[in-house]
Symmetry: C2
Subunit: 242 residues, 2 copies
C-alpha cells in the first residue's frame, strides 16, 4: 500500500484571515511528487486540547503526519504540548537542544528561550548539516514551524525519508463542457475502476472548457485508460493532451 499523509495546520492567524497559509499547498505538491497520498488537511486554533485530539486521530489514520505552526517561545506556541498529550507522554527538555540554545544565546539565554528546547518525551531529533535546528519527530508526526522559508528548509532536509512509488499523471484538455463529458467519464471509470479521475471546469479560459486528469501508479494501466478515454470523445473535442 502506498503511503498516506495528513497535514495539521495550527493557527489562529489562518482562521482569523490574517495570514494565508502557504505550507499546505507546498506540502501537497511535494508529497504528491514523492508518491505520497495526502488524505486530509485540517486547520485548528492554537489550543492544546484541539491539537492533541487531531494529532491522535491523524497519527492513527495516516502513515505520515505533518504539523505546521505553534512552535516558538510565546504563549500561543502550544504544538509540542499538544503532540505530547496526544501520545500520552510528558514534555521534557532535551539536553542537545539546551546546548544548542546556550551556544546561540550565550549570557542572554532565558527561561523563555528554553521553551524551544522542549520535546515530547521519546521524540527523535532529525538533524541535517544544513539545518540550524533539528526537526522534532514524534513517532510518525513531524513537527514543522509555520514560517514558510523554515518550513520548506526543514521539509527538504527530510524529503527522501518519504519517497514512495510515483503517481503518473496525464491531462486531457477538452473544449466541451462537463455536462457533455460526464457520460464518457462514467464509461471510462467503469472500464478502468482503479483509475484516479478528475474533472476541472474552467469558466474564464478561452482555450478549453474542462481539464480531465487521469492518474495511476501503474503507467501501462494509465496509458490504456488514456487511449480508451480519447476513443470515447468526439474527434474535435480534444484541445491537447499532456
Amino acid at each position: 500500500m502506498p503511503k498516506t499523509a495528513g497535514i495539521i495546520l495550527v493557527g489562529n492567524e489562518i482562521l482569523s484571515g490574517k495570514i494565508e497559509d502557504a505550507n499546505a499547498a507546498y506540502l501537497c505538491r511535494e508529497l504528491r511528487a514523492l508518491g505520497v497520498d495526502v488524505r486530509r488537511i485540517v486547520v485548528i486554533p492554537d489550543e492544546v486540547a484541539a491539537i492533541a485530539d487531531e494529532v491522535s486521530a491523524f497519527s492513527r489514520d495516516h502513515d505520515l503526519v505533518f504539523t505546521s505552526g505553534g512552535v516558538g517561545p510565546t504563549h500561543d506556541d502550544v504544538t509540542i504540548e499538544g503532540v505530547a498529550r496526544a501520545m500520552g507522554v510528558p514534555v521534557v527538555r532535551h539536553p542537545a537542544l539546551v546546548a544548542l540554545l546556550s551556544r546561540h544565546y550565550g549570557d542572554r539565554l532565558t527561561e523563555t528561550h528554553l521553551k524551544m528546547a522542549e520535546i515530547p518525551e521519546g521524540a527523535e531529533l532529525a538533524a541535517d548539516e544544513a539545518l540550524r535546528f533539528p526537526t522534532i519527530v514524534m513517532r510518525n508526526v513531524h513537527v514543522l514551524p509555520g514560517v514558510p522559508e523554515i518550513f520548506r528548509r526543514k521539509f527538504d532536509a527530510l524529503r527522501e525519508r518519504f519517497r514512495d512509488q510515483p503517481i503518473h499523471l496525464r491531462n486531457v484538455f477538452v473544449r466541451i463542457g462537463e455536462g457533455s463529458l460526464a457520460d464518457d467519464l462514467n464509461g471510462l471509470l467503469a472500464a478502468f475502476p482503479l483509475l484516479q479521475l478528475g474533472s476541472y471546469p474552467e469558466f474564464s479560459n478561452p482555450d478549453y472548457k474542462v481539464k480531465v486528469t487521469l492518474e495511476s501508479r501503474d503507467r501501462t494501466y494509465l496509458e490504456r485508460a488514456l487511449a480508451d478515454f480519447l476513443a470515447r470523445l468526439p474527434a474535435d473535442a480534444v484541445v491537447k493532451v499532456t
Copy 2:
C-alpha cells in the same frame, strides 16, 4: 455568544497539489469582518462517506458551516449526496431547479444536467436576483461551488445573513524578538484574560521583528489592554501601532 463557523473543502485536486484553494482564505477574511469566529477548516477527498462524516460533525459543532467544491454533473461531484447522508435525508430533484435547467439547456437537457437539480430533501434554496442559480442551504450548511468567482458571488448574495458583533483589532509592530517579548505577552494575558492575543515573528522584514495582534469584541477592553501592553514594552521597542 458570537457565531462560530466551520469550512469544509471537498477536493482531491487540493490534496493532490493540482490546485491551490483560494476559497478558505477568502471566507476567513470575510467572516472575520462580519464578526464570525471561524473555528476549523478541513480538506477532504471527493468521497461520500468522508463528506457525510465531516458535515455531520461540523453541523453539530458550529453555528454556520460552508462547503466548497464537489457540486456539478460529473462522477466526482458528490457533496450533495454527502450532505444528505449527514442529515439522514434522501437526495431529491427540486422542481424549481429542474425548471431552471430546462430553460437554460432547452432541447439539449440530459439526465446528466439534471444531476444539478438534486438537493438534500428539505433544503432551502437561497436565491438572489443577482444569481443565476440559487444556493442550497441544508439547515446550517451552505453548499458552495469550488470555482472561486462563483463561490464569491454566492457568498456575497448571502453575506448579511451572517453578520454578528464586530471583532476589533489593534496591531503593534516591534523591533525586539519573540524571546524578549514572551514575558510581556504573558503578563498582558494575565491582566487581560479575555484578550485574543497573537504574536507573529517576521524573519525577512527589515522594519520589524514581531507583529503582535490584540483583539476583542469590546473596544474599551481592547484599548485598555493596548495601553497596558505599550507600558510594558521598552521605550524604543515599538515601530508602529495600527
